[in-house]
Every structure is written in C-alpha cells, then in structure tokens.
Assembly symmetry: C2
Homo-oligomer: 139 residues x 2
C-alpha cells in the first residue's frame, strides 16, 4: 500500500480544510494510506492538536514524512509548517507534488523556483482531481 504524506495548512489557516479532506478521500479511494489524514478534518481548527506537545507532533510528523512514498501538498493557504515539510521532503529525496489555486495569489518563489518539486497550478477543483488521478495512474 502506497503511503502518502499529505501537507496542508493547520495553524496558518483552515479555509481550505474541506478541499484537503476531499483530496485525502480521493487518495484513499485509490488505495493509498494517507498518514496525515487528520489534516483534512474540518473539526481540526487553527489551534491544532491539543493532546500532544509541540515536540511530539514534530517527531510524529517527521517519522511519517520519512516513512512516506510520496508527498502531496496543497499550498494555496500560506503555512510555515508546509514550507518546512516540503524542504525536508526534498532533502530526503521524496517525490513532492504541489497544488495551488492560480486565482488566489502567487506561490512562493522558494517552491515555484525549486526544480525538485512537481507543480500543479489549478483553476478549478476538477483540475485538482484530474491531476491526482494522473499521479495515481502513472506511479
């Protein structure tokens, strides 16, 4: 079973939480194990997880990132954590797919300019799922 690390904003803002949830559900329907499934829960608010310390969250997420076969990130809402995770993932040699809504601001030059990332700009949700479908069928 393919293990996916899905990265999306938590403390940076939850305005795209429903989209994260839909992307995660799509990956799961395609037989992936999404290690960070909680990122798509609309019940998870910007205060983040309250039952773990910062160090515990960090250690768990880094273990999941290390264990993952593939990283999928939704980068429309700015997030320090997601930027951090993507840099660590590329330094681990992971394949990283970055999605962002072209109609809502510009992607960071640190992500757009790093040729180790695979970029998926989109203008509609249909394009997101079409690209995810393509990723799932080719890899």
């Amino acid at each position: 079973m393919r293990k996916v690390y899905f990265a999306g904003s938590i403390r940076g803002g939850r305005q795209d939480a429903a989209l994260y949830g839909d992307m995660i559900a799509f990956l799961e329907e395609r037989g992936c194990l999404v290690l960070t499934e909680h990122v798509g829960l609309e019940s998870l608010q910007t205060e983040g997880e309250r039952t773990m310390t910062e160090e515990e969250i960090f250690q768990r997420d880094m273990a999941w990132l290390t264990e993952s076969d593939l990283v999928v990130a939704e980068c429309t809402t700015p997030s320090h954590g997601v930027g951090y995770e993507l840099a660590r993932a590329r330094d681990m040699g992971k394949t990283v797919h970055i999605f962002y809504d072209l109609g809502r601001g510009r992607l960071s030059a640190m992500l757009a300019g790093d040729d180790r990332f695979i970029l998926h700009p989109y203008l509609s949700k249909e394009e997101v799922f079409k690209a995810l479908d393509h990723i799932m069928s080719e890899s």
Copy 2:
C-alpha cells in the same frame, strides 16, 4: 562583517513589512550585512520581485542562505517560503533565530517542535529589539 539572512513573508502577506524593516535596520546598525535587505522594503508587495524569474530568485536566495553566518526569521505571518528557508537552513547547520508575536496565533509545530531552532516569542516590539541586542552581543 557578519552576514545575516533575514527571512520574512513576501507572497504570504506584507502586514509585518514595517517590522521586518525595523529589525533589518537594527541588525545593520549593529554592523551586520543583511543579505536579504529587500524583505523589509515596504515598496515590495505580495507579488514579489518582478524583474527576476522564479528560478533566479530561488537560486539567489539559496546562495545567500548558504553564505550566511546567521538566520533571523520573523514568523508571525504564515509563509511557505520562510518555512522552506528555515528547514534548508537547519539542514545546512545554520544557527536560526525565530521571532513570533504570541498575541497573534500559534507558531507552526514544525518550527516550535524542532529543537534546532532558537525561539523568541514576544508580546511587544521592545522585546524583539532586546532579544536582537542579546543575540548581537553574545555571538
């Protein structure tokens, strides 16, 4: 002359640009060369630098990060680029100081939980400059 890489949000939002400028000016007054001085310019808006390609900005910033002696980041406004830069900096073994306003949301667990970072939570600008003064006098 000590070379500082100052990291602050550009495309993630410019609401703290004036603070970035004041922090950069403080470091320069203390004799540092701030490689990323443009981050503090209020004329620089969220569209970022328009005269360079994404790849050129990325390559320049990574060269500056590699060259720097010290990294100082203001992390109140969420930013993919800043999160990316801090992860790359820690993987390069740089000393990284992270400032954030305790009164405006929570710092990402990826930054708060990584013990390689030195955190400077603050509640007033006075605390920011006091901490910068301490960093300058000790290192």
